[in-house]
Amino acid sequence: MSRPPAIRIENVSKRFEIRRQAEVGGLRHALQNLALRPARILHKQVRRLQGTSTGASNQSRGKQKELFWALKDLSFEIKQGEVIGLIGHNGAGKSTLLKIVSRITEPTTGRIGIKGRVASLLEIGTGFHPDLTGRENILLNGAILGMSRREIVSQFDDIVAFAGVEKFIDTPVKRYSTGMYVRLAFAVAAHLNPEILVIDEILAVGDAEFQRKCLGKMREVATDSGRTILFVSHQLTSVVALCSRAILLQHGRVEADGDAKSVVELYQKQSLSLDDSEDVRPSENRPGRGTMRITMIKPERRVFDPAADKRFIIRVVTHDPEEVPCYLTLVFRDENNHTLFVLDSRHVGVPIVPGGASEFSVVLHTPWMRPGEYTVSAELLNFDVIDNWEQACRFGVSNELPYSGMIRGPAISSSLVLPEFSVTASANTPQ
C-alpha cells in the first residue's frame, strides 16, 4: 500500500460519434453549416425568447450523430511496479483506455494523472517503413516509441540478436518474411525502458516459439526494476502468467478488479449475453448483397472445454423473399488468425431457405480444441456472397485438457487442434 501511484484514473468517460457513411460531413457539409449558422443562432434566440427549450433541435441533430460511450465513469488507481492485465470483450473499451493513457486521444470527461514516462505499444512495428533497411527501421521505430538515440545505439546489438536478423540487417524490410518483420518489430519494443509501459495485444504475433520468447522477455521486463505495465490481451493464459492484478471491463465500465487469476476465471465463467454483439457496425455496412443477413451468432458458453460439444446459435433474417436458397459457412480461426477449419452447411445437407427457419443451431463435435481464444466468421452464399460477417463472435477454450496425463507444454501450444489418440504397447523387445 505504501507504493506511490503511477496512474490514477478519475471518473474518465470517452464518447465517440458514430456517423452513417453517407453523412460523413466533408467540406461541403461544413461550409453548409457555416452558411446556415446565422439562421440557426437566430432560431435559437427566438426559441429562447419563446421560452421553449432547445431539446427539440438537439434531438433532430441526434439523428445524424449516434453517440457511443466507449468508457463510462471509470475510476481506479495503479501503483508503481504493478503489472495489470486489462481484459474484456471486443468493444469493452480496453483499447480506448490505453489510447487515453498514452495521450493519443483525450477523455471526454474526467482526468488521468500520470507519473513517469509512458511508452505505448499499441501496434507492432508502428512507423516501420518498407523501403528502409532493418538497421534504419530500428532507429526510426525506436525514436517513434520514444527512445533516445543514445539508448538505441547502446541496445542495438541486443535488439538485432533478439530478433535473430543479423544477416538481413542491411536489407529493406519489405524483403523480410512476415516472421522476421514481426520479430524485429517486437525486439525494438522489448528494449524500451520507460517507467510505464502500455501494451495492446501484441503478443498475438509470430510463431509459437517466438511467442514463448516474447512472454519470457515480458516477464523479465515486468519483474525487474519495478516497472508499471498496463497490458491488454485476449490470451487469458498470458494475463494470468504475467499480471499480478487484472481488471475486467464491460461496456466501458469496470466489471471486476482484483487478483489476476480470479478475475480471469470470473470472465471465463460469464456466458455471453445477447447484447454482447461483437460487431458494432450496422449489418448493412457488411459486404454482400444483403438480401439476407445474419443477425446473431452466439456460442452457448463463453468458454468451452476442449473436448466438449460446442453449440452455436445463429439467427438469420430475410430482407428479400425472392432470394434463392443459400448455404452457410463458418470459419474458425485461432488467436494467430490461423484458419482451423471451415464448416459448410451443404456438407450436412441443410439449406438456408429465405423466409424459412430463422434460427439454426450448429454443434461442433470434433475436433478437440486447444486452450485459447477463437473467432468465428460467417458467410451466407449461393452464386455469390449474400452476407459476410468477419469475426462475428469470439469464444474461448479452457485449460481443462481431455488427456489423462498431466503434461502441458509445447505439444499443446504447437498443435492447431488436439488429437484424440492412444499409445499402447503392442510388442515387447525380444529377450
Partner: protein
C-alpha cells in the same frame, strides 16, 4: 482445484474496493503526478514539449529524405530536373513568346529561376506537409508526440531540394557570366521567410485534411494555379505597371509575392524591382497565416487520432 474457483471463494465481485468513488479516498495531490490528462486542456508546456521531441523531428525528416529517391533511376537528379525544366518553359513562354521584359539587364532565365527557388520550395513543402498527417495516420493513431512535428519535418525535404537547386543557379550564373551583388548574403534570411510563408498554409491544410479530405484534391490544383498567379514566370514590375501601386499592394496579400521579390532582390541585386511596402505586406500576411495555422492545428490536434 475446481473448488477454488467456486463463486464463494472468489475475491472479486462487480463492485470492488478499488472502484470506490474517489471521494472515499484522500484527494489526489496534483504534485503526485507529472501530468493530468483531461478534455480540452491545451498542453501546458506545448513548446517545451515540442523541443523535447526534437530527436523524433530529425528522425522523421531523415526518413522522408532517405525514402525519397529509393528505387528511382535518376535519383536526386529529379530535384534538379524539375525546376530546371519549368524554368526553361517559363523563359520561352513569357520571355520569348510573350516578350515580357526582365528586371534591368538581367538574363530572363536567371530572373525566372530566382523565383523558381522559393516557389518550388513553397509548392513542395505545402504539398507534402499538407498531406503529412493523413500520410502518417498509423503514427497519429498509435503513438503520442506533439503532432506539429509531422508537417514541420516534411519541410526539411523541401529545404534539401532548395539547396540542390542553388547548384543550378550557380551553374546558370557562370553560364551567363552574372555576378551577384552583396545582396546575396540575405539569402538565408529569405529562406527563413519562405519557410514561414509555406509552413503556415502547410500546417493549416494538414489539420484541415484530417477532417476534410477534399484538400487532397484541392491542393494540386491550388499549387498549379499559384505558379501563374505568383510572379514566377514574369517580373512583378510587369504587374505593378499594369495595376498601379494601390492595387499592387492588394496583389501582395499573396505572401509569395513578397517572398519572390525578396529572392529576386537578393539574387539579381540592385537591378531587381523591389518595392518595400509590398514586401512588408507579404511578411505580415505570412505571419498571420502561420499564427492562424498553428492556432487551428492546436485546436484540433487533440482529436486527430479519433477522426483520422
Amino acid at each position: 482445484m475446481k473448488d477454488s474457483t467456486s463463486p464463494a471463494s472468489i475475491t472479486v465481485e462487480p463492485a470492488l474496493t478499488r472502484d470506490l468513488p474517489l471521494s472515499f479516498k484522500q484527494e489526489a495531490q496534483a504534485e503526485d503526478f507529472d501530468v493530468w490528462l483531461k478534455a480540452g486542456q491545451g498542453e501546458k508546456h506545448y513548446w517545451l514539449d515540442l523541443w523535447r521531441y526534437r530527436e523524433l523531428f530529425l528522425v522523421l525528416a531523415w526518413r522522408d529524405v532517405a525514402v525519397r529517391y529509393k528505387q528511382t533511376i535518376v535519383g536526386v537528379a529529379w530535384s534538379l530536373l524539375q525546376p530546371f525544366l519549368v524554368m526553361i518553359i517559363m523563359t520561352v513562354v513569357f520571355g520569348r513568346l510573350a516578350g515580357l521584359h526582365s528586371d534591368g539587364s538581367v538574363p530572363y532565365a536567371i530572373m525566372v529561376f530566382s523565383a523558381m527557388l522559393p516557389w518550388q520550395f513553397f509548392a513542395n513543402s505545402l504539398f507534402t506537409s499538407g498531406q503529412s498527417l493523413t500520410g502518417n495516420s498509423s503514427l497519429i493513431s498509435k503513438v503520442y508526440f506533439p503532432r506539429l512535428i509531422v508537417p514541420a519535418s516534411t519541410v526539411v525535404v523541401a529545404v534539401i531540394d532548395f539547396l540542390l537547386s542553388l547548384l543550378i543557379l550557380g551553374a546558370m550564373m557562370v553560364f551567363y557570366r552574372f555576378m551577384p551583388s552583396w545582396h546575396i548574403l540575405a539569402l538565408p534570411l529569405l529562406l527563413i521567410l519562405a519557410f514561414v510563408a509555406s509552413l503556415g498554409p502547410g500546417v493549416l491544410v494538414a489539420a484541415l485534411n484530417v477532417k476534410y479530405r477534399d484538400f487532397r484534391f484541392l491542393l494540386p490544383f491550388v499549387i498549379q494555379f499559384g505558379l501563374y498567379i505568383c510572379p514566377v514566370g514574369f517580373s512583378s514590375s510587369v504587374v505593378r505597371e499594369k495595376l498601379g501601386d494601390g492595387l499592387f499592394l492588394l496583389y501582395s496579400l499573396n505572401p509569395m509575392v513578397g517572398v519572390i521579390d525578396g529572392f529576386r532582390w537578393a539574387i539579381l541585386g540592385p537591378a531587381a524591382n523591389f518595392y518595400l511596402p509590398s514586401f512588408l505586406v507579404s511578411i505580415a500576411v505570412s505571419a498571420l497565416i502561420l499564427a492562424l495555422g498553428i492556432w487551428y492545428f492546436r485546436k484540433t490536434e487533440r482529436t486527430f487520432a479519433d477522426i483520422i
